[in-house]
C-alpha cells in the first residue's frame, strides 16, 4: 500500500479548551445582539464584558453562554435583563466629592457668563450623579438657566433616574459627600424621606431631560457648554474611547468643558491636543478654541 492511497484518519491538531469555546460563544452572542438590537458590544474591554456575561448567565439559570443566543434572538425581555447586567454599576451621590468641588470652583464660575447653559450627562445610569450636579448648580444660582440632558443606553436605568427615589440608608453617606463637595445648604433640603426611601425634590428635575442615547452609535444632538461622562470609557477599548471622545469634541462649544472619571484621561487619546487641562487629578478639561 502506498502512502497516497491510504486514507489518513482526521487528526485535530488542536482541541479547543473551555476558554476557547467560551470565547466563541461570546462572539456569537454579541453578533446575535448586534444583529437583533443594534447594540454593538464588540469594542468593549473583554475582561469585564466576559465577567458580566457570566454574571448574567448565573442569574438566568442557563447552562452555558450559547443558550443565551436563542433567548436574545427571540425574547426581547431577556435582552432587557442582559442590558441591565451590562449596566450595573457602583454609583453614589457626589462620588469623589473633590471633583464636584473643583467643578464648582473652576467651571461653574465660568458658566455664569452664559445666559443659557447646555449640559450633557452621558451615561447617567440611575441618576445619582446628575442630581448631585443639579444641586450644585442650584446653589450657584445657575440651575434655572440650565438645560441638562441626562442620557443612558439602558431604558430601565433611565426610569429609575427619572423617579429619583433612593434607599434612605444611603443618605448619611451622601450627606457626608455633599459636605465634602462644598455643599452650601443642608442636604436634607433636597429630598423627602418616606418609608425607608428618599425622594429627590421635583424642582431639581425640572431642568433635567432624561433620554435614551447610545454612545456607540448615536450622534451629537445639541451644542454643549459642559459634558460629564464618568466611568463609562473604562469599559471601552481604545478605538471606541477615541470615537466617543471625538463625539464629545464635536458636541462641545468652543471653550466648553469635559469632565471624565478619575481613572480616565485624555492623555493617551487622539483628542489630547484639542483640550486644555483645567484640573489634572479631577479630570476636568476645556476644549481649545481656535477662533
Amino acid at each position: 500500500m502506498t502512502p497516497s492511497t491510504q486514507a489518513k484518519p482526521q487528526v485535530y491538531s488542536h482541541r479547543p479548551n473551555e476558554d476557547e469555546v467560551m470565547a466563541l460563544e461570546i462572539k456569537l452572542l454579541l453578533q446575535a445582539i448586534a444583529f437583533r438590537y443594534d447594540y454593538d458590544f464588540s469594542h468593549y474591554a473583554q475582561a469585564s464584558l466576559t465577567r458580566r456575561i457570566n454574571n448574567c448567565l448565573k442569574k438566568s439559570q442557563l447552562n452555558n453562554i450559547a443558550e443565551m443566543i436563542p433567548k436574545v434572538l427571540h425574547q426581547p425581555e431577556f435582552f432587557e435583563l442582559f442590558l441591565k447586567e451590562m449596566s450595573v454599576t457602583v454609583t453614589e451621590m457626589f462620588r469623589d466629592p473633590k471633583v464636584f468641588k473643583e467643578l464648582r470652583n473652576k467651571v461653574f464660575t465660568q458658566l455664569k457668563t452664559y445666559s443659557r447653559i447646555n449640559i450633557w450627562h452621558a451615561g447617567c445610569a440611575t441618576g445619582e450623579e446628575v442630581y448631585s450636579l443639579a444641586i450644585m448648580l442650584k446653589e450657584e444660582g445657575l440651575l434655572h438657566r440650565c438645560q441638562i440632558y441626562a442620557t443612558d443606553f439602558n431604558n430601565q436605568s433611565l426610569k429609575v433616574a427619572e423617579q429619583g427615589i433612593y434607599k434612605a440608608e444611603k443618605i448619611s453617606e451622601y450627606t457626608h459627600n455633599y459636605q465634602l463637595a462644598g455643599g452650601k445648604a443642608s442636604f436634607a433640603d433636597y429630598y423627602q424621606a418616606k418609608h425607608g426611601y428618599a425622594k429627590i425634590h421635583n424642582d431639581l428635575k425640572e431642568h433635567i431631560t432624561f433620554a435614551h442615547h447610545n454612545l456607540i452609535k448615536d450622534q451629537c444632538f445639541a451644542q454643549m457648554h459642559l459634558i460629564i461622562c464618568r466611568n463609562v470609557l473604562i469599559y471601552f477599548d481604545k478605538t471606541l474611547q477615541n470615537n466617543v471622545l471625538s463625539l464629545f469634541n464635536q458636541s462641545l462649544l468652543h471653550r466648553g468643558y469635559l469632565l471624565l472619571g478619575d481613572k480616565e484621561s485624555l492623555e493617551f487619546s487622539k483628542q489630547k491636543n484639542n483640550f486644555d487641562t483645567i484640573a489634572k487629578d479631577q479630570r476636568i478639561y476645556q476644549k481649545i478654541s481656535y477662533e
Binding site: 474591554a45 473583554q46 475582561a47 469585564s48 450595573v88 457602583v90
Partner: protein, 204 residues
C-alpha cells in the same frame, strides 16, 4: 553538563492581600531583585483614605518605591503590563487584566464584599496568562481570592499561600487552602526566597 534553565516559565505574579497586608508585603517585595523577570500585580484591600491631600494609593506606591529595587507604579487603565514591574491596584475600582496584557478597570458592584476584589483580578489574570501565572494569597480577614486562586490552579498556574500561622490574620490563607490543594504553603519569611529560586528554575 546539565542545561541551565535561563528563563522562567512564568510571566506574572498576582498577590491578593487584606488585613495585615502592609507588613506582609514589606517582608516580600523589597527582597526581590531589580532583575526579577515577572510582572507583579498587588491587590491590597482597602478603602480610599485621603490624608494631607494624598490618596492612600500614592502612599502605598511611595512606601514601596522607597524600599524596592523593582519599579513600583499604580496599575493604570490601558497600561501595558511589563516584566520587572510591581503594579499596585487602585482603590475603589475592580482591576482586571485583558488578554492583550493591559490593565482595565470596572465599577461592577463589590464581589465578596470587596471592591477591588481579588477574585476578579485573579480570574482575569489567569484567563490571560494561563499556566504562566503564579497566584499568591497572604494575610487577611476575608475569603476573597480563594475562588480566584482555585481558578489559577484550574488553568495550570502555580498557587501559593502564606502559612496561616505566620499571618497577622489567618482567615484568608485558611480559606484559600480549604478550597483547593494549593501547590505550596510557605512561611512569610520564606516567600521572597522561594520566588527567587523559582524563577531561577531551582523549584518546580
Amino acid at each position: 553538563m546539565m542545561p541551565v534553565k535561563s528563563s522562567s516559565p512564568y510571566q506574572a505574579l498576582v498577590i491578593g492581600v487584606s488585613a495585615g497586608g502592609l507588613n506582609a508585603l514589606h517582608n516580600i517585595l523589597p527582597k526581590l531583585p531589580k532583575s526579577f523577570p515577572l510582572a507583579i500585580i498587588v491587590l491590597q484591600h482597602r478603602g480610599e483614605v485621603v490624608f494631607d491631600g494624598t490618596s492612600h494609593n500614592d502612599f502605598l506606591i511611595s512606601y514601596f518605591q522607597k524600599d524596592c529595587a523593582m519599579s513600583v507604579t499604580e496599575a493604570t487603565i490601558g497600561a501595558e503590563i511589563k516584566p520587572g514591574n510591581i503594579y499596585i491596584a487602585p482603590a475603589k475600582y475592580h482591576l482586571l487584566i485583558e488578554k492583550t496584557k493591559v490593565f482595565s478597570l470596572s465599577l461592577e458592584p463589590p464581589v465578596n464584599f470587596a471592591l477591588p476584589s481579588i477574585d476578579v483580578l485573579f480570574d482575569s489574570a489567569s484567563a490571560c496568562y494561563k499556566n504562566q501565572l503564579i497566584g499568591l494569597i497572604l494575610t487577611g480577614a476575608s475569603s476573597d481570592g480563594s475562588t480566584g486562586l482555585k481558578t489559577i490552579k484550574g488553568r495550570a498556574g502555580l498557587t501559593l499561600v502564606q502559612e496561616p500561622k505566620t499571618a497577622e490574620v489567618d482567615f484568608m490563607p485558611k480559606s484559600a487552602i480549604s478550597l483547593h490543594t494549593v501547590d505550596h504553603i510557605l512561611p512569610l519569611d520564606d516567600i521572597a526566597e522561594f520566588l527567587c529560586q523559582l524563577i531561577q528554575g531551582d523549584k518546580e
